[in-house]
């Protein structure tokens, strides 16, 4: 009986692990409740001039994969949003990266900048929503202890949907995707 319970637990618990979905708005930062979890945050560039901000605070230096992705549809073929992880204790960006940032870097902050220019553009299939995306490909970023932010912007001012993923599918609450189905699913 104990073994059966264990197997049932495995079967039932494993699908619960996925990215926690969330909606990014340019008008207000997204505060990550549990930065040790993984998230897939979706937003839409309506003008191409927006900056989306995600705020995190880690209790220790913390390594996790980060990537940005765009739905694999013809209309978004040229849409390559960039992101930067910024915060105290991160490496100083070079001049080109500093110039690319969508806002001045606060004094004492460093940045890891992903310009999303890998070519040919990598693709991945996301089996829960059954969608294909173009991805920047992940970077293994070491988040600093304490506060940090992820900034997302559109360098060429292209418009359209994007997703920002970080962590290793350890979140829960993915049923929240039902709250805004069209954002996540189409």
């Amino acid at each position: 009986m104990k073994r059966l319970s264990l197997v049932l637990l495995m079967v039932l618990a494993r699908p619960a692990l996925a990215h926690t979905p969330g909606k990014l708005l340019a008008s207000s930062p997204y505060l990550v409740a549990n930065p040790a979890d993984s998230y897939a945050l979706f937003g839409v560039f309506k003008t191409g001039h927006e900056r989306f901000v995600v705020q995190l605070s880690h209790v220790e230096r913390f390594a996790a994969p980060v990537e940005i992705f765009v739905p694999h549809v013809d209309a978004l073929r040229a849409h390559r949003p960039a992101y930067a992880v910024v915060g105290p204790g991160l490496p100083a960006p070079d001049a080109a990266e500093l110039a690319a940032l969508p806002a001045p870097l606060p004094i004492g902050w460093g940045a890891v900048v992903e310009s999303n220019q890998v070519s040919p553009r990598p693709v991945f299939f996301e089996s829960i929503m059954r969608r294909f995306f173009w991805t920047s490909e992940s970077l293994a970023i070491v988040f600093p202890q304490g506060p940090s932010e992820i900034w997302v912007w559109s360098p060429e001012h292209t418009t359209g949907k994007f997703g920002l993923g970080f962590g290793v599918e350890e979140g829960g609450g993915y049923l929240a995707a039902l709250d805004d189905w069209s954002l996540y699913a189409y």
């Binding site: 694999h72 089996s127 829960i128 699913a185 189409y186």
Partner: protein, 179 residues
């Protein structure tokens, strides 16, 4: 957002229609007789369902062939289907093999339930084809128009077990023709 609402409404309507109990008393059964030629039918039925997949948006057709086990009036059928569904980001080609029970065949309104296995191919231009294997269940209702032709609605749910987890929902409207 409008597409989302339209799809949601479509799913709700089709689901409600599909799961509504068929009322045999709605219409008299088209009782075949030995003299009306009905007994000359083969055991095969072909159907042309039009489908929208709600998870991983695609739309298209999923032609199917059904083979009836037993004489006319027998419930059980073997189902073989292949779909061609296009979407904003992918071409979706599912292959299904399964069992379908067509109930209350002496009545005009005939509930259908089924289950089987499915191999799903998803294609984009710049990535290798994604293949997933799993199972499906389906339920719906057909309405006999005449001795051979039926029209109906089916809702299918699939669960992919290999090649990445996934849960799908596909409402279909169909026309079937008994050969």
């Amino acid at each position: 957002m409008r597409t989302d609402r339209t799809l949601a409404a479509l799913v709700v309507v089709l689901t409600c229609v599909a799961i509504s109990p068929a009322r045999a008393e709605d219409a008299p059964p088209p009782a075949p007789t030995a003299s009306d030629g009905a007994w000359s039918h083969t055991r095969f039925t072909v159907a042309l369902p039009a489908e929208v997949t709600v998870v991983g948006l695609t739309y298209g057709v999923r032609p199917e062939v059904l083979y009836r086990f037993g004489d006319r009036g027998a419930v059980s059928r073997l189902r073989l289907a292949v779909g061609f569904l296009d979407g904003p980001d992918q071409l979706f080609i599912p292959l299904s093999l399964g069992y379908r029970a067509v109930l209350r065949q002496a009545h005009r309104i005939r509930p259908e339930v089924g289950a089987g296995v499915e191999l799903q191919h998803r294609l984009v231009s710049d990535f290798p084809a994604v293949r997933q294997y799993g199972v499906y269940v389906e339920g719906g209702v057909g309405v006999a128009v005449d001795d051979r032709l039926s029209l109906g609605l089916v809702v299918a749910i699939d669960v992919m077990l290999y090649g990445g987890p996934g849960l799908g929902l596909g409402p279909r409207v169909f026309a079937s023709w008994q050969l």
